[in-house]
Symmetry: C2
Subunit: 341 residues, 2 copies
């Protein structure tokens, strides 16, 4: 069933039916009723591809999903997608997801944009000096970035959390508790959030004349295995750190296993603060020793970015171009005063 058939059925022209459907004013109310009724009866749905071709709009936002045979799937991605979806469903928008090798992200993004399948782009996993930004700007397609790109002029639309402040504040808390030996379990070194969190920690330490030792820093993908390995390394150091900052509750999971296996007590021998993306699977309050965290909901960020993206496509703007969300520092039992020894 297509427009033509429907209009023939009704004895109207395609134009009129199309207008009736799309809420144009220049059509008789009675006619509109009749059309709507027919749509209900026939179950007619406009062909999206044709609509897209005719209008240039498709009601969809595009994103690239990094994936590869060996590539670990990332819970953060799923959680974020849920947030996007929550908003998208309200506007009858959908997603076009292009899976791509992580090395191929720039090209994949370009393909997605040029394909003419999407109205707007969402970009995540930002890196320092991210090459995608220049490409995106040249594209004249709306986009919003989750995160920022360290070292690039921040003149693009983004939503980010204040990673630097988060870890600065977290470090300050631990400093006030008397800790002086810090370690950082971070995400991959080239990612923007990792850079900023590290800077936040270094800034706080610097104020007390302290430094972050090289061997007390780990940059890895954020899995619990890597957390375990990193923590085991820290624990074998001559000058064992007593305060750990951790970029993810996933990493913390492994780290805590290492602490337990070493027979140490979290919150007493070792204090740990992790960043909490509010993953439904990993609630800091449910850890055997509830975790002190810097918190910001990934899902909420997804909702907000979808709002901005969809709003822009629908010209419902204007939206703020840059948003920087504060994180919450939530103190639980995994932090305590520095142990006497």
């Amino acid at each position: 069933m297509n427009l033509k058939q429907l209009s023939e059925l009704l004895g109207l022209s395609q134009t009129t039916v199309s207008r009736a459907l799309n809420g144009y004013p220049e059509v008789n109310e009675a006619t509109r009723e009749r059309v709507l009724q027919a749509v209900k009866e026939t179950g007619y749905r406009p062909n999206k591809a044709a609509q897209r071709l005719a209008t240039g709009k498709a009601g969809s936002i595009g994103l690239v999903m990094p994936t590869a045979p060996g590539h670990q799937s990332d819970v953060h991605f799923g959680e974020f997608l849920t947030g996007l979806g929550e908003e998208a469903v309200r506007h009858d928008f959908h997603f076009v997801i292009m899976p791509a090798d992580p090395d191929d992200e720039v090209a994949a993004l370009r393909r997605l944009a040029i394909s003419g399948n999407v109205d707007a782009l969402f970009v995540a996993y930002m890196r320092g000096h991210d090459p995608r930004l220049a490409m995106l700007k040249s594209l004249s397609m709306p986009f919003v970035v989750h995160g920022r790109s360290f070292g690039t002029e921040p003149d693009y639309p983004y939503l980010d959390i204040d990673n630097e402040a988060a870890f600065y504040d977290a470090a300050r808390l631990l400093l006030q508790l008397g800790h002086t030996r810090f370690a950082l379990m971070n995400g991959p070194a080239h990612l923007d959030f990792a850079i900023r969190r590290r800077n936040g920690l270094i800034a706080a330490l610097g104020e007390r004349g302290l430094e972050l030792a090289e061997d007390c820093t780990s940059h890895t993908v954020m899995t619990d295995e890597e957390g375990l390995v990193a923590m085991e390394r820290f624990l074998q150091l001559a000058e064992r750190p007593t305060a750990i900052l951790c970029s993810s509750t996933v990493l913390a999971l492994g780290a805590i296993r290492a602490v337990n296996q070493a027979g140490l007590k979290l919150g007493e021998d070792i204090s740990l603060i992790a960043h909490d993306d509010v993953l439904p699977l990993l609630k800091p309050e449910n850890f055997s020793v509830p975790l002190t965290t810097t918190r910001s909901s990934l899902r909420a960020a997804g909702v907000r970015i979808a709002q901005r993206l969809i709003g822009t496509v629908k010209q419902a703007g204007p939206f703020p171009e840059q948003e920087l969300w504060k994180t919450e520092l939530i103190v639980r039992a995994s932090t305590g005063p520095v142990p006497q020894s």
Copy 2:
């Protein structure tokens, strides 16, 4: 840059250029070279919507993502998607994801199909007597179901794991260890896998003249909180169960917390077997007491389903219509002989 412009640039007709691009034989090799060269230089990409409109194929597979403001995001969904993506990227396919309220899945699926945006559909979260099957069959669009629908003639294309055998085997193991008091922590009662796993357990118990008590069964969404609550309830029973079957490692996470809080020892006081979807986040071997599991990789299932779906669209078939994968029973430390008491 579109086909017309490109063809004018080359002094060829659109037809020839199109044919050159799509690998048709009736075009001179030299001409093809020239076209390919021009494409490289201009960065021309065919408009997908137009292609879709003209051919009826779009190189995309559609799926519905259940989502709602209160709705917990589901790790399993993300993991599965990764699997699909891993295969899709090899064929330059993408996904069209339609977020939809869980109550609206049938309608959402129909919208997605009729929209003309997708070549094939993937369907998950199957229920007993699932109403989507009849709709799908009437649609004349390829689809593959992950799971099955209990109570419906299995004449549709699916890939499922043998849930019944999995829990039957798991129960047998525990029976051999002397356990007689069983409990089941299952997923939502209307879901197909939950029905079959329960049946598997009941069958194994039946062979020994045992029954599964009503108050030793819980059907909940699979979060660690629900696992905790369910296990707490089991532990307060007069005739406390000693053998637990658990439909997810996520549930197990909560269950184990309850066991620990009650001062009991997993693998001694309580034996537990969980089904393991091989979530990267939740490795059974990394639990403080490594978990005995029935295992089947969700991601691998995703890859396989994508193969079948894409193969069908590309007419690369034939593919088996029905596949039933065996699960592995992997014994670790969370199971032990029934405690003497």
